[in-house]
Symmetry: C2
Subunit: 472 residues, 2 copies
């Protein structure tokens, strides 16, 4: 697999003294094993693995400090690694160095049900968190497709299906504990719900993809489990009609908890993979949270809206089992669609536009996809104006990769022309760096570079990510 | 008035060449008039005025660029000024220089009702905005006490009574246009609802109080005007009982739009100032937004909660006139309480704590206030764990200022001990600088200083604010 092409290797040497220092501290939690390195050199993106020189397994913030100090002393790159589920090449060791695996930092440190907050170590995953707090009657809503770690979700400013109602990681993180490039441990904020006390370091680290500091603890907001939940599926004659229904729902201020678009190809894949019997047309998957009366009121309103837009078969999933099965299927969409072409790898793109332009953006993108020489699927967190295209590619065909990259570039430029963003929730990683200047302008990008330079002057933290090399 | 004491003057010279450059560009929109300078050298804080050397009235982003360039060329301080309603000395020209008044930048630039966004110039005030968009059926919820400018509200990360439901400026700003200290114009984000594309410059400028760049345009989220609104007043036997009712309301997830605490002194002041007949006990002022059935459901739940906590007289304000009168009175609380002691100036403090500690924090603070030698009032956006104390001081009594500062320091330290913040919404300005190291730690403060140094290496943007001088 040759594409998307990586820049010629910029690997920096890792001096033996650095490895010795790490070995002294970490013992057998330092691994030079080829398969361990290979595993940590890739994510769910189509990029081929670029393994680090070694992998260190951290179990505490102190461990992270030790790893940062060893790398800082020798100018060695250090790449934070949570669950490896990122989609844009975030964790590839493009300049070599050490990968810092925080998945063993998996303790829930303190639950504060009265304040609706919880503090966890960075390696705790979203499913683990919700399992551990179930008895409190609270839940954490942010749900990217994978069972990602909270640290990784913070680092990529992740969101998911519930963001339309509950917001993204940006909105739901109260405070972070971060190890700086100098090996200092800071806490970015207190646990108060709001503050005007100084620069928003919390938000600066959220979405910084490990390039400004290593997140070791995360305090997030929790929500009372809704008294009532209902879900519904509605088929539509076209993607256009489905999107029009969503736009009207949002504009009327109906507080839907989730509204997901699946195109026909995705529905077909889910039926195959998750043994469902969904009618194979574009469909919207809704979820409503609230009091029993509130949920019924929302659902009635939405049902009327869908009918106006040609929606058919507004079908309820009332039983929790049915509902969970449906949403589990939605979360497995990525893996399900992979089965549409055995042996394929997916290029999964991600744009977000103002919702008034969503129908245009998807329609124009579909015109491109109709001409593609490989299978594609469209799914979307459409209530936020965010959608994804999965392109199922033959890993050995350079022609297909080139074609996919052309579609991706056209889709991103289309989103930017509509005042949208090149990534709604996946992050920049390696793959979206090429669009950052176009999205933000060179002067804003220069400010971002100044932040990076100020926080990490040796450029040891996940180097070669987010910020493209200056062109002027 | 001598206290709170200002550091010895650090005024920097303003070279004639700088004034000449400004005069050439701004003509009679450059003012050296003493009363204009005096007016721009103070805010609503108790600090005595520290006037700038000159005031420039900007009418466009280009004007702001010109002012920044003139100041940058001569190393002259430049202080952005919106409506002058800040409370912690934000706009005082403590190092001299030029004040940049943006109040004439008061145009609503584009309303996008389909996307629930609006873009305004920085000088547009919150009331003006809501007047201009009334016909769209949408509204902008953030409402600090004063009719502040959107630019100022962004710069101080303001919130207000609706934040418990709609969030703060942090949550509601989509994008900013900012003039950097180098005179470059950047836009911090696209108009998509969410993005993972790079460092969050938007949030970095929000709350930066004019020290990192000059905000010239603000794009904010709007909300559909709720179908139904109702308000209610409930008296309580004690502040403790009222706060306990609020905590339970929040913990149950009731989506109240507003819940304000007023102590007995404040209620008395409102009755006098706004000619109301509220019963003079601690009270909570609620507002509910939603569908007619949803509002009724919320109100019923809250009424039950208040009853459990000894609430009396759950009284409805059903008619919009009654409701608006009540909320107008609440917004005038600052001015109303000033009347409790004619000739007094108010020291208005602001802390925010995790809601589980709110009752403790207010109770311990009230013990201090009971011993104060001047009138005091407590009001709070208690749903957020945020409350204010107004201390009505004789401007000529140094003893009273010293006493007030002691109470303020004790209150802030109490909030910090409870994992709270030294300011929930007023900002740092001059008055809270002393607590920033305690709140964030020296290492986090060092990062903030690095951001300031990177963005404004000449230290011309509102110097002497937010960041205390390093102690090590």
């Amino acid at each position: 697999m040759n594409a998307p092409a990586l820049a010629p290797s910029l690997r920096r040497p890792v001096p033996q003294a650095c490895l010795d220092a790490l070995a002294a501290r970490f013992g057998d939690r330092l691994s030079l094993n080829a398969s361990v390195r290979e595993h940590h050199g890739r994510d769910e993106s189509p990029y081929p693995a670029v393994p680090p020189d070694a992998v260190v397994f951290a179990e505490s913030t102190d461990d992270v400090v030790a790893a940062v100090q060893a790398c800082a002393a020798h100018g060695v790159p250090l790449i934070a690694y949570g669950s490896g589920s990122s989609l844009e090449g975030h964790v590839l060791a493009v300049e070599g160095g050490i990968t810092l695996d925080v998945s063993r930092m998996n303790r829930v440190l303190s639950v504060n049900p009265d304040d609706l907050t919880v503090t966890v170590q960075a390696g705790v995953t979203r499913k683990q968190l919700n399992n551990e707090i179930r008895d409190t009657g609270l839940f954490f809503p942010i749900d990217p497709g994978a069972d990602a770690s909270l640290g990784g979700m913070a680092a990529t400013r992740a969101s998911g299906t519930n963001a339309v109602r509950y917001g993204t990681m940006r909105d739901n993180i109260v405070s972070l504990t971060v190890v700086t490039a100098q090996g200092k441990v800071i806490r970015t904020a207190r646990r108060a719900k709001k503050s005007s006390a100084g620069y928003d370091l919390t938000r600066l680290f959220i979405g910084s993809e490990g390039t400004l500091g290593i997140i070791t603890e995360v305090t997030v907001r929790l929500y009372p489990q809704p008294e009532a939940v209902s879900a519904a599926v509605c088929n539509f004659p076209s993607v256009d009609a489905a999107v029009a229904a969503v736009i009207q729902t949002i504009q009327m201020g109906v507080p839907v908890a989730r509204v997901e678009l699946l195109d026909t190809a995705t529905v077909r894949a889910l039926n195959l993979y998750s043994k469902l019997t969904l009618r194979e047309t574009p469909l919207l998957l809704f979820e409503f949270h609230g009091s029993p009366a509130g949920v019924e009121e929302q659902a009635t309103t939405v049902q009327e809206i869908t009918r106006e837009h040609g929606g058919m078969d507004f079908e309820w999933a009332v039983h929790p089992e049915d509902r969970n099965r449906l949403w589990a299927a939605r979360h497995n969409a990525y893996f399900a669609t992979l089965q549409l072409r055995p042996g394929a790898r997916a290029s999964s793109t991600d744009v977000c536009v103002p919702i008034s332009r969503l129908a245009d953006c998807i329609r124009e993108t579909n015109a491109d996809l109709a001409r593609a020489s490989f299978p594609t699927c469209v799914v979307g967190h459409v209530g936020d104006g965010n959608f994804h295209v999965q392109m199922l590619l033959d890993p050995d065909s350079e022609a297909e990769w080139t074609e996919a990259e052309t579609i991706n570039r056209r889709m991103v430029r289309r989103a930017l022309d509509m005042d949208g963003t090149c990534t709604g929730e996946h992050g920049v990683g390696l793959h979206k760096m090429q669009f950052l200047a176009e999205e933000h302008g060179e002067d804003a990008l220069a400010l971002m570079r100044q932040v990076k330079q100020a926080f990490d002057p040796l450029n040891i933290l996940n180097p070669g990510k987010i910020l493209p090399p200056p062109t002027r």
